[in-house]
């Protein structure tokens, strides 16, 4: 435990009790990520059903609210047919550690940040790239043609989505003056969101969200990965527990990207100043954290469900059309946003 403590202290996080960071990580994953996964999975199925004139889950629990639990239990009790070699197991552990290492960097409130440095905004981005690498290798390791091609497509798509997203982050960094989570939040207000500050930042928001969808292969831009028909085939052989972990990894990427979007562009966790000072006067800092976290998660869910709505109402684009879109449309728009933000900030 010692090296974790030392590492965190070097990063600027001071704690007297060595176990706090681990407890914090555990708390984040158990009480924020897992419930979010369950909630979004349930809302996904219910809202898709509403859109499609169906009912959706209605048998498990009251109005089907226990459906994600049922799915999880069902998947976890299935054996997978693929037994891993030692090398594969080792790689899987390293990959999982790399992917979920960014748990420490998720900002969840003004007082609930563990990593608040100039590099903190790039850590979730890096974790999305790790996810892409893992998916690509999963595909390339297949013998069947669709799986193999799916691996290559995932790599191409992720590469295409990186460029506009990075530029989007740069725009906001320029506007806020720094890449620290606290500075990014301080540059916004309760209703003064970054994306409404000036039109180039609105463009940067669109570019960032679009780039994220391409990078993480989220519907409707999931042509490289989609398991339907001939498209992806990257993960058709993944069953049982491995499927649960795979889907959870994909959800984690989507979630962390949405949190990043909200913090960068959609007002972070800023609650009205009057409310905040009222809580401080009552000496209730925990209340501030809770309210901020709730507000942040609410905006995150709204964003995720909005993207889901677009995904359900529209068809899926072809992979080469996605990469064309990313390089040919999002890229130039990102550069335009960057130049415009630069000029606006100078003036």
């Amino acid at each position: 435990m010692n090296w974790v403590f030392l590492w965190l202290r070097a990063l600027g996080f001071s704690a007297t009790v060595p176990g706090i960071p681990l407890i914090a990580l555990a708390c984040i994953s158990l009480f924020v990520i897992l419930p979010s996964c369950a909630l979004i999975a349930y809302l996904d199925r219910k809202l898709s059903a509403d859109l499609q004139a169906r009912v959706g889950p209605c048998r498990t629990g009251y109005r089907g609210m226990l459906q994600p639990v049922a799915d999880c239990v069902k998947l976890l009790q299935k054996n997978s047919m693929h037994s891993q070699t030692l090398g594969e197991l080792l790689w899987m552990l390293l990959h999982t550690m790399a992917l979920y290492a960014s748990l420490a960097a998720i900002p969840l409130g003004s007082l609930a940040m563990m990593v608040d440095t100039q590099m903190s905004v790039f850590i979730p981005f890096w974790s999305a790239l790790v996810l892409a690498l893992g998916t690509m290798l999963l595909g390339l390791g297949q013998y069947t043609t669709p799986g193999w091609l799916g691996g290559i497509r995932t790599a191409a798509q992720s590469l295409a989505g990186t460029f506009p997203s990075l530029i989007g982050i740069l725009c906001v960094g320029m506007h806020a003056g720094s890449f620290r989570w606290s500075a990014l939040a301080a540059s916004q207000g309760f209703l003064h969101w970054t994306m409404f500050a000036h039109p180039f930042l609105l463009l940067a928001f669109v570019v960032f969200v679009g780039g994220g969808l391409v990078l993480l292969a989220i519907a409707p831009l999931d042509g490289g990965l989609a398991m339907s028909d001939i498209h992806g085939g990257v993960a058709v052989h993944v069953t049982g527990r491995q499927l649960a972990l795979f889907q959870f990894g994909r959800f984690y990427g989507f979630f962390i990207w949405s949190v990043m979007t909200v913090v960068l562009f959609m007002g972070a966790w800023r609650i009205p100043e009057s409310l905040r000072s009222w809580f401080l006067a009552l000496d209730a800092e925990v209340c501030i954290s809770v309210v901020e976290l709730t507000w942040l998660l609410l905006k995150t869910y709204v964003l995720m469900l909005f993207i889901l709505w677009i995904a359900r109402a529209n068809p899926r684009a072809r992979v080469d059309q996605i990469t064309d879109f990313s390089w040919g449309v999002l890229g130039p728009l990102a550069l335009v946003a960057l130049v415009g933000t630069a000029f606006w900030t100078m003036v």
Binding site: R54, I310, N314
Partner: protein, 180 residues
């Protein structure tokens, strides 16, 4: 030089035009599905049948009167002619009959309909002269064993002595006419 610049502007115009048109089209699709999310109007409610809940789904009586469900044979009216057995394309009906106590009485001993082969085409019902074979509106015919899918409407085999009795009864009935 002028030509080069003009084509660049034209290309830029069509590029931006396609971006705007695509975005509007995608947004249009999303907003066109919005009435479903908000459940506006009768034409947009959910169409899921809550089967097997009998309240929120259709039962056999809700089906139209002509629905071709499982077959039923009224053995009182059946004459055992075997037309249905002959016409059935799937060969699923088995009929065996013999004359009874009177010339006009026919004892249908075997009338088996094998629903694992029946395709519910209705030819047997059409051809049935006494109109004893009808379609019910039942559609729940699943069974756990293949043997349970055979529906027997026959009256069962008769013993030899019963057959003898009927034979004698028929002879007695036809004899006075021959004598007179």
């Amino acid at each position: 030089m002028m030509y080069f610049r003009r084509s660049v502007f034209i290309a830029l115009f069509w590029y931006l035009h396609s971006i705007v048109k695509s975005s509007l089209s995608i947004a249009g699709s999303c907003f066109a599905t919005l009435p479903y999310l908000l459940r506006i109007g009768e034409s947009r409610k959910e169409v899921t049948d809550g089967y097997p809940d009998p309240i929120s789904s259709k039962t056999a009586d809700d089906l139209p009167p002509r629905s071709r469900g499982l077959l039923f044979n009224d053995i009182e009216r059946c004459t055992g002619c075997g037309d249905c057995e002959h016409v059935c394309p799937a060969g699923c009906i088995e009929v065996a009959s013999e004359p009874g106590a009177h010339d006009s009485r026919i004892w249908v001993s075997v009338f088996d309909v094998d629903f694992s082969r029946c395709v519910f085409c209705g030819l047997c019902v059409d051809i049935c002269q006494p109109m004893s074979l009808v379609h019910t509106r039942q559609y729940e015919g699943a069974a756990y064993q293949l043997e349970d899918l055979v529906a027997s409407f026959g009256r069962g085999q008769v013993t030899e002595e019963q057959r003898e009795k009927w034979h004698l009864a028929r002879q007695r009935l036809s004899a006075p006419q021959e004598g007179a």
